[in-house]
Structures are given as structure tokens and as C-alpha cells.
């Protein structure tokens, strides 16, 4: 079998009765009738409701957990343990005055919150939240959609979500939001490359782009999960890149309160602000789901057969448990780590993550194609990495001034003393 054959054709494991390379949802194997349409609509509505509900719970969970970590009590007024606090906040925001700044671009200003929310929702549609179930003669997958381009939808939507942040800052017609949005777009574009390269590594070993096939390929047991099979490095790169992509702490320079007032959403109020807030937390949940899908086998896990009908719902329990670990991780990181400086952020992205993920991708490909001869590739990579490191060192030793547009540079570095009294008289 040729290289390409092993690239896409090797994992011809059947997914719900179909080859993973085509990965059609078994629901449509008998054509499309009204029953299938109803099932699809139900899947969409359930996913939407569950996602919104879990976002509400996530906001409460984050506030409560951070309070615990900081020896505070946190929300405790609305409902038992403050459970209804998010709902109360939402109702309050809904009835607040909806301000549109005078100098804003009204259309884009109103459009931007939806451009952040919709991609976060759409990403969730390709995440497999459970196994393949058969209910009343209809076999279908527990996920909203299983398109053949699968995981590329995640990349596409995460690259689209740049627009919401970027346009929100620009359309506000205000200084700090603009700075925040420029930072955001630079940051998100920078980390997208590393993100894509790690996803490619997963796709290479799975042999398919479909999220269902990626999950099915990690199925038998936990040592088949991609996190172990790829070596842990791609997973670590992915975690860092996705955190930066979501603008979560410690990469939340976009809304660095100490520098930018509130960042890109400074000028937003009322329900539009609530949409940004919602989108951020929805992003945490969906991206945790994506990580579980790509590296931790998705809904894979041992099923207790002695419980009746556990085949249907127990994979979803595994999925939820794995996602919950990541949600906890994100709150923990937010409480524990300080925010990076902007130049550190860019250095991590361009000088560390991209070369590392590229090298690891080559390693994965070389191991698959050449077996032990991949050690040669690794040796070459280490040598090239040394050259790259040397280049970074030499570059950082050079005068920073030469890299900046000259008049700006000299303006920055020419010290202008305060005029003394006698000079003023002159």
C-alpha cells in the first residue's frame, strides 16, 4: 500500500456500518424521509438546549470554584448555593438599556456579538457526545452532524470567531476596544497555525477527518487514545493553542482589564454584552469537547453491561466526565496563572509552538511511513532545531531599534529632558 493509501485508506474500520472514509451518518442510510428530518431537528434542539443550559451551569461553576480557590464564598443569594445567580444576571442584563455609541458603526456593532456566538454554537455540532444508538428502528449518532470534513469545521469556525472580536472592537469607535481587537486578531491568527498542525497529526493517525471516525479509531481502550498514541506533546500544544484561541486566561490579553478597561467589549451593554459572555463560556465547553474528541477518545470508555440500556447512554456519561475534567482545568488555570505579556504571547506562539508542532507532525508521519528510520528524521530535526534556537538568540541580541521603522525608533529612544526654567525663558 502506498503512502497515500496508508494516509486515508488504512483505517477502513466500519463506523456504524460504513467506511470511515465516507463517514455518512447511518441515519441517512435509507434515504431522507420525514422521520429522519424529525430526528435531525430533535438532535439540533436538544444540543442547543443542553449547550445553553450547560453554559449557565459553567458560569456558576467557574464563579463558585474560583471563589473556593480564593477563599471567598462566591454567589450564594439566588437559589440554593447561588445556582440561579447566572439566570438572575441574565435577566438583569436583558432589561438593561441597550447602548450604541454615537461614533460606532451601528450595523457592524450590532452584528459582532452574533459573529462570536454562532461559531461557538456550530463547533459543538460536530462533537460526538455519545455512541451510535438505535431507537425505534432508527440508528443514529449522538451528535448533531457528522460531515465528511468533520474536524475542519472546528478549525473553520474557530477562525471565523476572530471576526466577532475584531469587528466588535473596531465598530465601537473607541480607543481601548480597538487595541483589544487588534491584539485579539493577531493572537488568534498566530495560534491558528499551531492548532491546525496538531489537528493534522491526529488526522494522520486516524485516517479520517470525520469526528466520529476519529473517536471510533481510539475505541478499544485508553492506551489507544491519541493523547498517548501521538506522544503527549501534540496534546499539550493543542491545549495551549486552543486556550489562546479562546482568549482564556492566561492568554486573555484581549480583555486585559488592567490595561484596556474591558477590551473589545468595553462599549457593549445589555443583551449584546451577555452574548459575548455567553460565547466565551460556550467556547470553553465546546473546545473541551473538541479536545476530548481529538485526544481522549470522546465517549469511549468501559460500559457496565449489567445496567439495562447502558449501551445507549453510558458513553455520554464518559464524555461528560472527560469534559468536566477540562472545565475544571480551565477554571484552575484562570485562578492560578498570571496573564502573559504581549511579546511573550507572540514568542510562545511563533518561536515555540509552531516549530515544535511542525517537527512533531513530521515525526508522526515518518514513524508511520518508515518505522524505526524515523529516528533519522528526529536527529535532523534536533539539528535544525539547534540552528533555529541559535537564530533566535542572535536575533534577540540585535538592537531592537533596527527592527522598528526608524523615525518611530528614534522617537522612542531619544530622551527628551523636561525644559528647565531658563530654557523656557529663552
Amino acid at each position: 500500500m502506498s503512502v497515500l493509501g496508508s494516509f486515508a485508506g488504512s483505517s477502513s474500520t466500519l463506523v456504524g456500518g460504513l467506511p470511515s472514509s465516507l463517514a455518512v451518518d447511518p441515519l441517512f442510510s435509507r434515504g431522507v424521509h420525514w422521520q429522519e428530518v424529525v430526528i435531525v431537528i430533535i438532535r439540533v434542539l436538544v444540543a442547543f438546549g443542553v449547550l445553553l443550559g450547560s453554559v449557565v451551569m459553567m458560569i456558576w461553576f467557574e464563579r463558585k470554584l474560583i471563589s473556593d480557590m480564593q477563599s471567598r464564598i462566591g454567589p450564594n443569594r439566588a437559589g440554593p448555593w447561588g445556582l440561579l445567580q447566572t439566570l438572575a444576571d441574565g435577566i438583569k442584563l436583558f432589561f438593561k438599556e441597550d447602548l450604541v455609541p454615537n461614533r460606532s458603526d451601528r450595523f457592524v456593532f450590532k452584528l459582532a456579538p452574533y459573529l462570536t456566538l454562532v461559531p461557538a454554537l456550530l463547533i459543538f455540532s460536530v462533537v460526538p457526545v455519545g455512541g451510535v444508538v438505535t431507537v425505534a428502528g432508527h440508528t443514529f449518532e449522538l451528535q448533531v452532524a457528522d460531515p465528511p470534513m468533520g474536524i475542519l469545521v472546528v478549525l473553520a469556525m474557530s477562525s471565523i470567531s476572530v471576526y466577532g472580536v475584531m469587528l466588535a472592537g473596531w465598530a465601537s469607535g473607541s480607543k481601548y476596544p480597538l487595541i483589544g481587537s487588534v491584539r485579539a486578531s493577531a493572537q488568534m491568527i498566530s495560534y491558528e497555525a499551531a492548532l491546525g498542525l496538531t489537528v493534522i497529526a491526529v488526522v494522520i493517525v486516524s485516517g479520517s477527518l470525520s469526528t466520529r471516525a476519529i473517536v471510533a479509531h481510539q475505541a478499544p481502550a485508553f492506551w489507544d487514545w491519541n493523547v498517548l498514541r501521538l506522544g503527549v506533546v501534540p496534546f499539550l500544544i493543542f491545549v495551549v493553542a486552543i486556550t489562546a484561541e479562546m482568549n482564556r486566561p492566561p492568554f486573555d490579553l484581549v480583555e486585559a482589564e488592567s490595561e484596556l478597561v474591558g477590551g473589545f467589549n468595553t462599549e457593549y451593554s445589555s443583551i449584546r454584552f451577555a452574548l459575548f459572555y455567553l460565547a466565551e463560556f460556550m467556547g470553553v465547553i465546546t473546545m473541551s469537547g473538541v479536545m476530548v474528541t481529538l485526544f481522549f477518545g470522546g465517549p469511549d470508555g468501559p460500559i457496565p453491561r449489567f445496567i439495562p440500556t447502558s449501551d445507549l447512554w453510558f458513553p455520554s456519561v464518559w464524555f461528560l466526565a472527560k469534559v468536566f475534567v477540562f472545565l475544571f482545568f480551565y477554571v484552575w488555570v484562570r485562578a492560578a496563572l498570571p496573564r502573559l505579556r504581549y511579546d511573550q504571547l507572540m514568542d510562545v506562539g511563533w518561536k515555540a509552538l509552531i516549530p515544535l508542532s511542525l517537527a512533531w507532525l513530521l515525526d508522526v508521519g515518518a514513524v508511520i511511513v518508515w518505522g524505526w528510520w524515523a529516528l533519522v528524521v528526529i536527529a535532523v530535526e534536533i539539528a535544525l532545531g539547534g540552528v533555529l534556537w541559535r537564530a533566535f538568540v542572535v536575533g534577540s541580541r540585535r538592537s531592537e531599534v533596527a527592527a522598528i521603522y526608524p523615525p518611530i525608533a528614534s522617537r522612542m529612544l531619544t530622551v527628551v529632558p523636561e525644559p528647565t526654567a531658563e530654557e523656557e525663558q529663552e
Binding site: L4, F7, A8, G9, L14, G17, L18, P19, S21, L22, A23, V24, F28, S29, G31, D105, F107, V108, P147, P148, M149, L152, V153, L155, A156, S159, I160, V162, Y163, M166, L167, W170, L178, V182, S185, A186, I189, E192, G196, S208, L209, S399, V401, A402, Y405, P406, P407, I408, A409, S410, R411, L413, T414, V415, V416, P417, P419, E423
Partner: protein, 247 residues
């Protein structure tokens, strides 16, 4: 389920779905999106709105790709064009501060619009004439064969043809892009300065003793003791000149 059945589901579903009601509806909706976006690009007064209209057009094209079973192209269309290139457009627009409304009635080149109309009419007439008169329009999805031939995924087929049949074209394009990037870096780079870091003279006052970046605007005479007394004012004068030059 044996392979032939798989093939039946994979291929005949496609054949059955093709050119049915939903198919035509998809085409019409995405065509409307594409054309509305294209008109928006041309007629928007604000460059940011024009860029957003371009995103809309790209989305419509992506939907058409999906409708043609070219899923991978659709995803790449969104990731590369909408997600990276138009974002860079917006970046430039925002940084250069050209994001203000323009009077599109103002016309720097008077013959431009009539010429554009004539050329557009000629191109349209050519396309229609070819569509009607020639046998080029075969109704095939792709000249290189079906996008899901033999039960393989779209990515597999695309990857195979890119890395076998069209390998040289592919590599040549890659080389072209790298050369373009290197060229852009070389063109954007200014000649490096010897050093414009402030030097500290005997009195501790910062002076600028090096040739300035602006052609020596504050490159004063060699600084002796007499010059030292005047140095702060001198530097400030140079500074204001630099500011003038910067505008």
C-alpha cells in the same frame, strides 16, 4: 454490509440527491448570497463593509463546494480565505485608518467605469456563447472525475492527485509562495541603522551622536565640550525635525 452496498449508499445517494429540489434550492440560495456579497464589495462606501461582503461571497462559494461534494475545498475556502486573508485585509484597513466612508461617485479615472462595463459585457457574452454553442459544459462535477470516486473520501482523492499527477505544479506553487514571502520581507525591511541608542556622555545627559535615520537631520557636529552644553536643546530640535519628517 458488503462493499458494493457501501458503494450504493455512497454513490447512488449522491446521484439521487443531485439536481433535485433541495439541490436547486441550495444553489439558488447560495447564488443569491454570492451575488449580494459581490455587489456589496463593489458598492460599499466603507472598506470594512466591503471586506465583510467579501466574506459573505466566500461563504456562498463554500456552500456551493459542499453541494458539489467537495467538502475539503469548502473547509479550506473558509479557513484560508475567510479566516486568514480577509482578516489580514481588515487588519490593514484598521491599521492604516482608511476605514472611513468614501464618496464612490468621485472618479479619479473618467474612462474607468465605461470600460469596465464594456469588458464585463464582453466577458458575459463570451461565457454565454460558450455555454450555448460549445460542448464544454458537460454537467460534470469535475474534469478529473467524481469527487467521491471508488468510495474514497474527497480528501483522499484530492491528496492523491495533488501529490501524484499535479506534484510539480503543487511544488512550484509552494516555491512561488515562499519566494513571494521572502520578497515581501526584503522589500518591507528598511536598511538597518548603525545604532540610534542614546549614548551617555560625560555629564550623563543623553545625546544622539549617531547619524539619524532621516538622513542626518539631527546629526550635529562632533560633540565637544561646547556642544555638550547645547545638547539637550539640540536633541529636542532634532526630535521636532524627526517628527516633521515623520509626517
Amino acid at each position: 454490509m458488503n462493499p458494493s452496498q457501501v458503494n450504493v449508499i455512497g454513490m447512488d445517494l449522491v446521484a439521487a440527491v443531485h439536481k433535485t429540489g433541495p439541490d436547486i434550492a441550495t444553489f439558488v440560495v447560495s447564488a443569491i448570497i454570492i451575488i449580494a456579497g459581490a455587489i456589496g464589495v463593489v458598492f460599499s462606501r466603507n472598506p470594512v463593509h466591503a471586506a465583510l461582503s467579501l466574506v459573505m461571497t466566500l461563504f456562498g462559494v463554500a456552500v456551493l463546494f459542499i453541494e458539489q461534494q467537495a467538502d475539503f475545498l469548502a473547509a479550506v475556502q473558509i479557513i484560508v480565505y475567510a479566516g486568514a486573508i480577509v482578516v489580514l485585509f481588515l487588519f490593514v484597513i484598521m491599521f492604516l485608518g482608511v476605514d472611513r466612508r468614501e464618496n464612490i461617485a468621485a472618479e479619479p479615472l473618467h474612462w474607468q467605469r465605461p470600460l469596465a462595463l464594456v469588458l464585463m459585457a464582453a466577458a458575459l457574452a463570451g461565457v454565454i456563447a460558450l455555454g450555448v454553442g460549445s460542448h464544454w459544459a458537460t454537467g460534470q462535477q469535475a474534469v478529473a472525475g467524481s469527487t467521491t470516486a471508488g468510495g474514497h473520501s474527497n480528501v483522499y482523492l484530492l491528496g492523491k492527485s495533488v501529490f501524484t499527477t499535479y506534484l510539480y505544479a503543487f511544488e512550484a506553487t509552494a516555491a512561488l509562495l515562499v519566494i513571494a514571502v521572502v520578497g515581501a520581507v526584503v522589500l518591507a525591511r528598511r536598511p538597518s541603522l548603525p545604532s540610534v541608542e542614546p549614548e551617555t556622555d560625560a555629564r550623563g545627559a543623553a545625546v544622539s551622536g549617531q547619524p539619524g535615520p532621516d538622513g542626518g537631520l539631527h546629526d550635529a557636529a562632533p560633540r565637544g565640550s561646547a556642544a555638550q552644553d547645547a545638547s539637550p536643546a539640540d536633541v529636542r530640535a532634532g526630535q521636532s525635525l524627526v517628527k516633521e519628517a515623520g509626517r
